[in-house]
């Protein structure tokens, strides 16, 4: 019997081949008539107003950092989650472990909100 992971590899291979195939077929089938006007960056019907390399809001970066912290915390609870029912037989230890993790997350969330990390205007 094939193990599951070989099937996943097969499925991934199928995706890669099909996507690259679609891409290459489309490049081969489509015409190629480059013109200077066609190759300018898109702007809403007027000549290019301003370039793309402007400055962007630092908020996006803050959200990225917050995500890292929260997602890592979540991932740390996953192994516990799958065995929680067994651990629950031995008393409240596992529950308090979950509680501590969630409490840290809530404290971090309150701090982030209080500092205005999620305020968009």
């Amino acid at each position: 019997m094939m193990s599951g992971f070989e099937c996943i590899a097969l499925y991934l291979a199928m995706s890669v081949i099909a996507v690259l195939g679609m891409y290459i077929i489309s490049v081969l089938l489509g015409p190629l008539r480059p013109k200077p006007n066609k190759q300018t960056p898109y702007e809403c019907g007027v000549p290019l107003l301003d370039p793309s390399n402007k400055r962007y809001d630092v908020k996006y970066y803050v959200v990225g950092v917050l995500f890292l912290v929260f997602d890592l915390e979540t991932v740390l609870i996953y192994p516990l989650a799958s065995r929680f029912k067994e651990f629950a037989h031995y008393g409240w230890g596992a529950f308090f472990e979950v509680f501590i993790f969630v409490a840290i997350l809530i404290a971090g969330l309150i701090y982030a909100i209080a500092r205005g990390a999620i305020e968009w205007d």
């Binding site: 099937c7 097969l10 995706s15 077929i25 489509g30 008539r33 996006y60 799958s82 529950f95 205007d121």
Partner: protein, 345 residues
Amino acid sequence: MNWVIAIIKVVFIWTWCLLWATVMTWAERRGSAMIQDRLGPNRAGPFGLFQPIADGIKLFTKEEFRPKTARKILFNLGPILFAIPAFSAYAVIPFGDKIVIGGKEILLQVADVNIGFLYVLAIGALAVYGIVVGGWGSNNKYSILGGLRSTAQLISYEVPWGLALLAAVFVYGTFDLRQIALEQTGTFLGFLPNWGVFKQPLGFLIFTVAAYAEANRVPFDLPEAESEIVAGYHTEYGGMRLGLYLFGEYVNLYTLSALCVTLYFGAWNLPYIDMSKFLGPISYGIASFVVFWLKVMVFLLSFIWVRWTVPRFRYDQVMRLGWKTLIPLALFNLLITALFIQLTV
């Protein structure tokens, strides 16, 4: 022989997902027309059913032009990075129970692995790269803004999504999606079907809202809000490059719906009826496949229905909903679930 079966399953379910993704493009246009009292595409074939084929041919034969200012490698890489994870995520989700042909039992699932759950989460998260690379590679201010917005939105909703799924793992005690499906037989509290949605009502709600955001669907289609940033991260794309983004999105919808059905709506189980008792081995396999598919279709149609019913959120509202409502709710749900299990064992 095992290899042959595995290859047949892989090819079949892969094309099946793509087929329904294509049909969805038709259903979306017909559905929106029905809701807005128009006709929609009705010329190509009966009820315009061949419209997706015509669209596909059009996308394949379009010119693959690229703006001069675009970053060449990243621009080409974007759609591929988006489409491959989207097409691959279905590998571990079951599409039926099992079928017995010639004394040989075949599981209706491409790969039955004990960490299937984590595979879906991991592969699903990779799609962000396709969006941010495509947006950055286009080197157009609308594309970059769209890519940034999309990244912030996707990662913001991944946290409540993961937390809602985590609560489901608490309930089932396993990462194996087939095991999760098998546990949803029988009844719960004596009269309800033993489905995840009755054990995790809040978790299901959070999962659904976050899934709409993860799939970039209305009311969370901020990355491509056409009145603000044209078409967002795929402003500069055309031809099959655009096609890969669009198909990837619809295949994503199919995967998300199937995941929702597996976790919260009893997978292939019918309420109160045990099909395996009175159906033959082959007809049972087919019946479980059809039941699962019909449940997925209900969710797919609800995606269309919602799209043409609710207006789009503003960006600050999206972020507020994600961080100030969904994450605290998801954490609360997690604690309640853990407490409930602790008290009932």
